[in-house]
């Protein structure tokens, strides 16, 4: 059996209306590593990330062809219930979107909708994932307070915790630090580095320095195409394509 947690994208084309957003993408996302999707603004990073858990279902006038394989399943054409597949992938978005409920409720939500109702089980999970995301000490006395009262940095870690609580194999993060101050932003980066032994992590960013700090594997995109991909060391030390060299030098951003 193919190891799970690894994603294989083949001949992926994505149109919105007449505009082609993704052009024949072929890429692999290795297991238990941090893969960074890097590229200038508007090159299609977010769209590619959303294709991975089919949030693109919400787009109007969209046409997709190609395959996105996870395990032995083509996510784009599978008959499996898409909500089950999405549960295997936690999403951390550009800015945090806590659910309109308490801190506790946010983490328990995913467990409750998948059928867990025992209070003791939920309590344990809430505590565990708040500890994993280093939030427990800060919020343990106010679990029943609305999540909206937390700072943005705390909300972002809460959103990560809530995603982890449904026990995903993959974490998808779209510029997870872009709304955060430098300290919270470093906290998130460190968290990802800690978590990669258990999860396959995909991080979208256009910040080169951030990519260098956290990436094990890089997919470099430009105008809807994958220009170059490979292990981070090789990618940054020894890029093969002219575009990549120019980007790494900071010629465009």
């Amino acid at each position: 059996m193919e190891p799970s947690g690894k994603i294989k994208i083949q001949n992926l084309n994505l149109f919105i209306g007449k505009q082609q957003i993704l052009k024949n993408i072929n890429a692999e996302i290795p297991e238990n590593k941090i893969t960074v999707i890097l590229g200038p603004s508007g090159c299609g990073k977010t769209t590619l990330l959303k294709t991975l858990n089919r949030l693109t279902d919400l787009y109007e006038n969209i046409k997709i062809s190609g395959t996105v394989e996870m395990g032995n399943e083509d996510i784009l054409h599978t008959k499996t219930d898409i909500t089950k597949i999405r549960r295997k992938m936690g999403l951390v978005s550009q800015r945090p979107y806590p659910l309109p409920m308490s801190i506790y409720g946010n983490i328990a939500y995913g467990l409750k909708i998948s059928g867990h109702t025992k209070k003791q089980f939920l309590d344990e999970k809430v505590e565990y994932y708040l500890k994993v995301t280093h939030l427990w000490e800060e919020v343990k006395d106010r679990l029943k307070q609305p999540a909206s009262a937390l700072s943005v940095g705390q909300q972002q870690r809460l959103c990560l915790a809530r995603g982890l609580a449904v026990d995903p194999e993959i974490i998808l993060a779209d510029e997870p630090a872009s709304a955060l101050d430098p300290v919270s932003s470093m906290a998130i980066e460190e968290l990802f580095t800690e978590l990669k032994s258990w999860y396959t992590i995909v991080v979208v960013t256009h910040i080169l320095r951030q990519a260098k700090r956290i990436a094990d594997h890089v997919i470099f995109m430009y105008l809807g195409e994958v220009i170059e991909q490979g292990p981070a060391g090789e990618f940054f030390e020894n890029p093969k394509m002219e575009k990549t060299k120019a980007y790494i030098k900071g010629a465009f951003n």
Binding site: T83, P100, G110
Partner: protein
Amino acid sequence: MMVFATLTIILVLLLIIASIIYKGLPALSWDMISQTPKGGYYFGKGGGILNAIIGSVYLSFGATFLALIVGLPVALYMNVFLVKHKKTVHALRFILDILWGIPSIVYGALGFIFMIWLGLKTSLLAGIITVTILIIPIMIRSMDEALKFVPRGLFESALSLGSTRSEISFKVFLRQCIPGIITAILLSFGRAIGDAAAVLFTTGYTDNIQGSLSHPAATLPLAIFFQLGSPVPEVKERAYASAMVLIMIILIISIAARIFSQKYYKDKIKF
């Protein structure tokens, strides 16, 4: 500018309330709200408008409840299930806005026509149905106005946690919009309890306390209308007292609803 706008609104509200209190308070008595009209009430004899208070409460609660049952799922459906179909949603909004704008006398007349076709008499039930139809567009559209501001990112986050669309509707969108939805309910309720034209032909009128859905019912707006039309000055004053009662009911309901929505207002995420 904002101060000016606020002051104007407060001033208008005070003016309405003050003039009604000024004219109505002298006539307001315990008898007025605890008794039904005695014989000769409309010529200045004793009694009260309990029949109309009870009729109006039944009618407006019934209609608001039915409109909520129909309207909430539709508003959620428009915003959660039809996200990919912007054109359909735009068309629906346009139609609902038109329906909202149709004067209530037209709904009343339509209700009347249907009653004749179906061989029904004027009754509380006919009134409830007519008023429900009158306020459904208000209910849906004003809920929709709240729901449409739920950010796409929240929708995507909830999907990513493995939610189905119904779970997103009732556990995320509904919670996020409780304050807006309460406002929508209040708006519909206010229209339901305050409208005279829709009930004129359909609900009828009675001096007795409402016995069943199939009997005619008295309503406050019509009570005000009849009393105001009286040549007797005391009865005219009672019309203002009745208006006070109507406003009091709306105020009590509004305040209760606000208190209820406070808790959810804290949970609401401000984006």
